[in-house]
């Protein structure tokens, strides 16, 4: 099972903040694959950042069982 999280304006766009994904053939599933598994054809906008287990990763990074994947717009703290 992997956990998927959304933050900021993307959370509103998607209409969910957290969801989980249980699939059998997790091997070689990338961050981008995870997005499309749960969001279908809805495009992952260019400016959306991606994190795996709370570290920034590229969309082609491989996801493993137990991982937490996050999608969010550019950060605006400070």
């Amino acid at each position: 099972m992997i956990t998927i999280r959304y933050f900021g304006s993307l959370k509103e766009t998607i209409g969910r903040s957290t969801e989980t994904l249980s699939i059998s053939e997790l091997e070689s599933l990338t961050v981008l694959d995870v997005w499309h598994y749960v969001n279908g054809d809805f495009p992952l906008a260019e400016n959306i950042l991606t994190a795996l287990n709370m570290d920034y990763v590229t969309r082609s990074h491989v996801v493993n069982d137990g991982d937490e994947v996050a999608f969010f717009p550019p950060v605006t703290g400070g």
């Binding site: 933050f7 900021g8 570290d55 996050a70 717009p73 550019p74 950060v75 605006t76 703290g77 400070g78």
Partner: protein, 142 residues
């Protein structure tokens, strides 16, 4: 070294004073560089009534800790204090505090600036402004 995520208003100067008093660094530090970010009542030409600061709990702490580690590898630093607000913030309330103690001023200045720029670029916080018109607007980067 302290990183605090704070869901109520904080007083930056008493935070720094209390932290500094507890350091066993009397006579050792010659330079303290501090940055405080405070909420304004205007942004992008609009009046702002309040702000909701959301963050990615856990990732914030992880990223700030990494930034501090990198900063320590670049400059000789004696200690750090980072405080960041989350939740509902009103104009004139502090949002972020970064304070750096070192023996010499160049290190303190450089490290404080670097930490703030890294925090702005990478710490997972998002600001939702409540405008005077009662509309909500996510702050976005250009």
């Amino acid at each position: 070294m302290t990183i605090k995520i704070c869901d109520v208003a904080f007083e930056p100067f008493s935070e720094i004073q209390t932290f500094q008093n507890a350091l066993a660094l009397n006579g050792k530090f010659g330079a303290t560089s501090i940055f405080i970010g405070t909420m304004r009542d205007f942004n992008d030409g609009d009046d702002v009534q309040a702000m909701m600061l959301e963050h990615y709990d856990g990732m914030t702490q992880k990223q700030l800790t990494k930034m501090v580690t990198t900063t320590k590898s670049k400059w000789q630093i004696l200690d750090f204090l980072i405080v960041h607000r989350i939740g509902e913030i009103l104009p004139n309330e502090p949002i972020v505090l970064v304070a750096v103690w070192s023996a010499h001023r160049n290190e303190a200045f450089e490290a404080c600036r670097y930490l703030m720029e890294e925090l702005k670029a990478n710490a997972p916080f998002w600001k939702l402004e409540k405008l005077a018109t009662n509309q909500n607007r996510w702050v976005s980067k250009f």
